[in-house]
Symmetry: C2
Subunit: 168 residues, 2 copies
């Protein structure tokens, strides 16, 4: 396979994976493009490479910066802004985990905590089932939360090393 073709495939695959996991396809593609670019790229270059509009490129880049996955670079003597992606996979994974936890897991945990406090008639099957499900899910979510917390603080080697010590 040619490098050019391989690059396309990578961008496509990353875009598809992103969209299946609730991340805008274009955002994932721009990220993929930057991941395989040795040098920082301009908005123009990104528009060109992915055939997207200026507005789309601009918004997507701002989002990626908001997710902590991409940063702006300035080159001496140039007006243009350049964009560069952190290439460290472990940082990427942590960054994504961190953002999604903040945006999605935390709010749900808050609701679950509230809901598990609701009380009612212990002899009412409706109440009993509701309460059990909510409580169980709350516990699971808290475990996930705790694990993410550890992962966010951890070094890559330590993290996977520890996992494999048990899971091997």
């Amino acid at each position: 396979m040619e490098l050019a073709e391989a690059k396309q495939k990578f961008i496509e695959a990353w875009g598809k994976l992103g969209s299946e996991w609730g991340i805008n396809r274009t955002m994932a593609q721009v990220h993929a493009l930057l991941l395989i670019s040795p040098e920082a790229l301009t908005t123009e270059e990104i528009m060109e490479a992915l055939s997207i509009s200026r507005g789309n490129a601009n918004m997507t880049l701002r989002d990626l910066i908001g997710w902590g996955l991409v940063e702006k670079q300035h080159k001496a003597g140039e007006r243009k802004e350049y964009f560069y992606a952190d290439k460290d996979t472990w940082n990427i994974a942590r960054q994504v985990a961190k953002e999604r936890r903040k945006r999605e897991l935390d709010p749900v945990l808050k609701v679950l905590d509230e809901l598990s406090k609701v009380d009612g008639d212990v002899n009412d099957p409706e109440y009993k089932t509701f309460n059990k499900s909510v409580t169980d899910i709350n516990m699971l979510a808290k475990n996930v939360d705790k694990t993410l917390d550890t992962m966010l603080k951890a070094e890559e080697n330590w993290f996977w090393g520890s996992l494999f010590k048990i899971f091997k």
Copy 2:
């Protein structure tokens, strides 16, 4: 908070979480409804409770069955089909992990394996960057895959217990 209100909130929260993670909102809501129902429900009851059409209810239920989260029940002397959700949170988590791995992670792993075999000029920065990113992501994805595999085979207590032994 009243039980009725709490139920609504739970269904909403579950639906929102689902849609943020690439799962159809209605599917997540139907699942939530069944999770807090002590008894199996009919299509009619689900349509009524969530104000959705028959077609939608039917398709959604079929999807949930396909995900292994819901099963049909038959009651003696009745024509109607009843639907019941497994209430074991750990089973739910495993089931979802299993399906998403099969549907989404596995195909990406296949592509990444291919792409990491592409070769090129080691002095070409374009190639070097491409290759490094693809290889790194491939390794990460394989680690995730391995961990999921362990999780799928594991008992809940063993799994979290082992995690906490390290992560505490």
